[in-house]
């Protein structure tokens, strides 16, 4: 039997660039999964996309699915006639098809059901129709009077099975669109139908009809031409993989054109040029490596023209100039406002609501300024600078440039604050204080930036806690989880100690939360706010540390310790504990600790007393017992000063060193001695183990 290849093309109006690659992958997966499930295996498959088509080629498929034989067990041979008839009806068989067999349970009827294989075309038609009807587009639409949904109107389906004898169209029809063996070339350069015989024929004819089928081939060609053209002028293209992928999805026949940016605009900050060109025009920026300035642009057209792109380039240049004229207008207006002390912007923030229960942006700025000043010493920043930076950090939100390009917020603040002649550290805080925006975003490190960044996030967390707008489930409209992670990362990655409870209590007060006096019942409720917020931050910390391979029970063991509002301390403890538990001694110490703790707890329950002090070596009866006394003395002498110095690594390795003497003790010694004095002494000894270990972390919470 000949081994057929399958070629599918779904030809539509322009598919959004960002969806193409994923869609090609989905087409491949859905069709191949469907074929395999129906018994149609294949040798290889590949999928491609252009703005107007998704293409799938499958090589070495079976011509038909194999015939399968299924055996079904029926009723007993002497079962009532009705039962046998029911079985036959269900299996679609007659009595002659049944076979009687002796089994340990007596004579039983068996049926053989043969399912004949089905021709590939039939299976392909079914699978493809299902695929089209259930395609996972991020957004799809209807058109005309139809009910079919596709990303944009679907115009034709090419679906052929190719054997040595030739190509055969798979007969199928989806909402009036009949499968055929034709496609279209480039919309403008090669209009008209193209008849296709197989995949090689398809790619060759498409290439001739000005369509490069493979997106990565288009991207490579664009990058190659762009860098060459820039290089020839002594310039370099600013890399942007996202833009390259997008542009490759906007063209079937890429033609790279490089143009000049008008001299008038070269004084704009490079980020402004880059953002404007990328966001509005999908241009690449071309930089002069000597000056760092963006001097040219690269645009990618979708066609060749008789004038070698001159009209296209001139048009693009004109659009760019209009855009940049806007940007320049904003920049110059903004610089005037900045040089006048930004008062217009700061005033404008009074009219912008931050949140209807949390006041205006200006109120936010006031709170940030107070808090930034308060925490400045703890993060090594000058309090005056921290306050000033916080006061200016949000000013650019009222600028024209940020209104036009919201993604430039912060960065423009930095430019404008620098232009005012403020200290660079103050200017930098405007840009840095939003960070980190995601788990992989860098955290600010400059002290003034750190103070403002922390102030912004702590204010946000406490504010939304004060008005009881906490994240629930998947809903976190104010990005409070991100704010909490930001606080964690800034403190931990900069190795900073901050009394988070104190900072949040003072900001909660700023948000109007009244802590009252100690006897006021509301006081307790309000205290809960602080505890609840800390618990939320601890939850984020667990996620943060889990991503670094630290188990949740280890984190719990550390959160249970005092000073758990010092996140940096908490993380150091957790890391040290995690490392310790990875060692052989550490892992076994936990077993020893648990054994000691269990015996002790049982004895305390049975005796109704707490064994805590008074273990005395003079009552020791064995060497192992005496050795444990000595080991505990040594460990304690190391652990106590190490804990005071917050040197958890030393403390924990000293603790892990107890493993051998504890193990030896349990092997040699029976704690529950008949001698009451000896027993009490041993229990008090176990209590020392517990005390020493629990001073390091709450090991009772460690699992396993």
């Amino acid at each position: 039997m000949p081994v057929p290849d399958l070629l599918i093309e779904l030809f539509s109006e322009e598919i959004p660039a960002r969806m193409q690659t994923r869609a090609a992958g989905d087409l491949k997966k859905l069709v191949t999964d469907g074929l395999v499930e129906a018994g149609l295996t294949y040798a290889s498959a590949a999928a491609f996309s252009t703005p107007r088509r998704l293409t799938l080629t499958i090589e070495g498929a079976l011509a038909a699915s194999p015939t399968t034989v299924e055996e079904r067990k029926g009723p007993k041979a002497d079962a009532p006639e009705k039962a046998i008839e029911g079985f036959l009806r269900g299996a679609g068989l007659t009595r002659d098809d049944l076979e009687e067999r002796d089994t340990p349970k007596g004579k039983i009827l068996f049926a053989k059901i043969t399912k004949p294989g089905r021709p590939a075309a039939e299976i392909v038609a079914e699978v493809l129709e299902q695929t089209i009807r259930n395609f996972p587009w991020p957004k799809s639409m209807r058109w005309g009077s139809g009910t079919l949904k596709w990303v944009r109107p679907l115009h034709s389906i090419l679906c052929i099975l190719v054997t040595e004898e030739g190509a055969e169209v798979v007969p199928m029809d989806v909402d009036g669109i009949k499968a055929g063996n034709t496609t279209q070339g480039h919309r403008f350069m090669s209009p008209g139908a193209i008849t296709v015989r197989n995949f090689d024929d398809y790619t060759t004819k498409l290439q001739r009809a000005h369509v490069v089928l493979d997106a990565s081939e288009r991207a490579d060609a664009i990058w190659h031409d762009a860098t060459n053209q820039a290089f020839a002028q002594g310039l370099e293209v600013v890399e942007d993989a996202g833009l390259l992928a997008e542009v490759a999805g906007l063209v079937e026949w890429p033609v790279v054109l490089m143009g000049k940016i008008d001299d008038d605009f070269l004084g704009l900050p490079p980020e402004v040029l880059q953002t404007s060109m990328k966001e509005h025009q999908k241009f690449f920026s071309v930089r002069n490596p000597k000056t760092g300035r963006i001097e040219r642009f690269i645009t990618v057209a979708n066609r060749e023209t008789a004038d070698n792109g001159a009209t296209i380039l001139a048009g693009n240049q004109k659009v760019l100039s209009a855009r940049l004229a806007d940007a320049k207008f904003f920049w110059e207006n903004d610089l005037r406002t900045a040089n006048a002390g930004m008062t217009d912007w700061l005033d404008a923030l009074k009219n912008v609501t931050f949140h209807n229960k949390l006041g205006t942006q200006a109120d936010l700025v006031d709170r940030m300024a107070t808090l930034a000043r308060e925490i400045a010493p703890a993060v090594g920043a000058d309090p005056d600078q921290a306050e000033r930076a916080a006061r200016l950090a949000k000013a650019d939100l009222a600028s024209e440039m940020v209104y036009e390009f919201p993604e430039l917020q912060g960065l423009m603040g930095r430019y404008y604050i620098e232009a005012m002649g403020e200290d660079k550290a103050i200017a930098a805080a405007a840009q840095d204080h939003y960070a980190p925006l995601g788990p992989s975003d860098d955290v600010p490190t400059a002290p003034v930036s750190v103070a403002v960044a922390l102030a912004e996030k702590i204010d946000k967390l406490t504010g939304f806690w004060a008005i009881d707008e906490k994240p629930t489930g998947s809903k976190d409209p104010f990005a409070l989880r991100r704010a909490a992670l930001g606080v964690i990362r800034i403190l931990v990655e900069n190795d900073l100690t901050l009394d988070l409870s104190e900072a949040s209590r003072s900001t909660l007060k700023g948000h109007g939360v009244d802590f009252g006096n100690e006897t006021d019942p509301d006081n307790y409720k309000n205290m809960d706010i602080g505890l609840n917020l800390l618990a939320f931050i601890h939850d984020r910390l667990k996620v943060y540390l889990r991503d670094q391979g630290i188990r949740h029970d280890i984190i719990d063991a550390c959160i249970a310790m005092p000073n758990n509002d010092d996140l940096n301390l908490l993380v150091k403890r957790a890391r040290a504990l995690s490392d310790t538990l990875k060692t052989d001694d550490g892992e076994n110490l936990i077993q020893g600790f648990k054994r000691a703790n269990n015996i002790l707890t049982q004895a305390e329950e049975a005796d109704g007393v707490e064994y805590s002090y008074g273990a005395d070596p003079k009552f020791a009866e064995t060497d192992e017992e005496r050795a444990l006394f000595a080991a505990l003395d040594t460990a304690e002498a190391q652990i106590t000063p190490a804990m005071q110095a917050q040197d958890f690594t030393t403390a924990m390795s000293a603790m892990a060193g107890l493993r051998a003497p504890i193990d030896a003790f349990f092997t040699a010694v029976q704690v529950n001695s008949d001698n009451a004095t000896v027993r009490r002494n041993r229990l008090n000894l176990l209590s020392r183990i517990r005390q020493i270990c629990l001073a390091v972390a709450d090991l009772t919470r460690i699992e396993g």
Binding site: M141, G144, S145, R152, V251, V319, A325
Partner: protein
């Protein structure tokens, strides 16, 4: 009048060629709606007529106002009053893209020299409670049109789907006529006995309106007008469908919709005056949406919107 083998010479010739082209493709050439709107989509020939199953094909020019875009006539591209050309065909024909490209050819854009692209742009109008999928059409990197397949309007699924084309006329004409500043663009034929530029017609009005929009418009009066338009819209829709005077069934979808349009424009003016905060903005948009949605609900209760006595029975 308009020989499409030559390049157009004026703003008005481009409009006339579009009118002729779309008339030749079977569209009813309507006139602008006689109210202030932010875009051609607000014309009831688009919003309301995209609802229901009745076939429809219309094209028209719509003067549009965006108070915040005023630049006293100084910016080469930005205007607070400008023109849109709007085409709506229901159901969307399978060759709508080709029809559209034909219209570019008609106004002198030679596809063999230019780079014409369909770039993803999902359209959504929060005030109309409407959305659709489509593209912005680029000519040499410039957006020359919006191309949308309406999926929902006024909260109603569009079935059949309308295809909507919107041309920003000034921008498109400046491009075709190779003019850098909108005010320099010839409005009529430069060879006319009295040649007029766009600036001759609109420079002064742009100044006047920019000053009024930004600094003078009485916000208290506007706020009151907004409330009144909202109340009137609701009051109209609260009327019984049966008119006690004529005894006929008269659902007043259009008069109510006029009030919704009015509220929407007043909101835009208040926005330009800078008296609407970010949070209030959402609330106002929500109020306008509630009105347009109620008007859409009313329109589908009319004959043009697909209501029939039989359907009720």
């Amino acid at each position: 009048m308009s020989d499409t083998s030559t390049a157009p010479r004026s703003f008005q010739e481009i409009i006339l060629r579009l009118q002729t082209y779309w008339a030749s493709k079977g569209c009813a050439i309507l006139q602008p709606y006689d109210m202030e709107v932010g875009a051609g989509t607000f014309h009831p020939a688009t919003t309301l007529r995209s609802l229901g199953a009745q076939p429809w094909a219309a094209a028209y020019v719509q003067p549009s106002r965006r108070p915040t875009d005023g630049r006293y006539g100084e910016n080469p591209n930005r205007l607070q009053h400008y023109y849109q050309y709007q085409v709506l065909i229901k159901p969307s024909p399978p060759d709508l893209q080709e029809l559209y490209l034909g219209s570019l050819q008609a106004i002198g854009i030679d596809a063999s020299l230019h780079d014409i692209r369909f770039v993803e742009d999902d359209w959504e109008s929060p005030t109309l409670g409407a959305w659709g999928l489509g593209w912005e059409v680029w000519c040499d990197g410039m957006e020359v049109s919006q191309f949308t397949y309406f999926q929902q309007v006024g909260g109603h699924d569009c079935s059949p789907v309308s295809g909507e084309l919107t041309y920003g006329l000034e921008r498109l004409a400046m491009y075709v006529l190779a003019v850098d500043h909108v005010m320099d663009m010839p409005f009529n034929d430069p060879q006319s006995p009295i040649p007029l530029t766009y600036g001759d017609v609109f420079k002064q009005t742009e100044e006047e309106y920019a000053r009024w929009n930004f600094d003078v418009a009485n916000t208290e009066v506007l706020l009151r007008h907004f409330e009144e338009a909202e109340a009137e819209c609701k009051a109209i829709l609260d009327q019984r469908h049966d008119d006690p005077k004529t005894g006929k069934r008269i659902v007043m979808a259009h008069p109510a919709y006029d009030q919704a349009i009015k509220a929407s424009h007043i909101f835009n003016l208040l926005d330009a005056r800078g008296v609407i905060s970010v949070t209030e903005r959402q609330a106002y948009i929500g109020r306008v949406r509630a009105l347009t949605k109620a008007c859409a609900d009313a329109f589908v209760q009319t004959r043009a919107g697909g209501w029939t006595p039989e359907a009720v029975a």
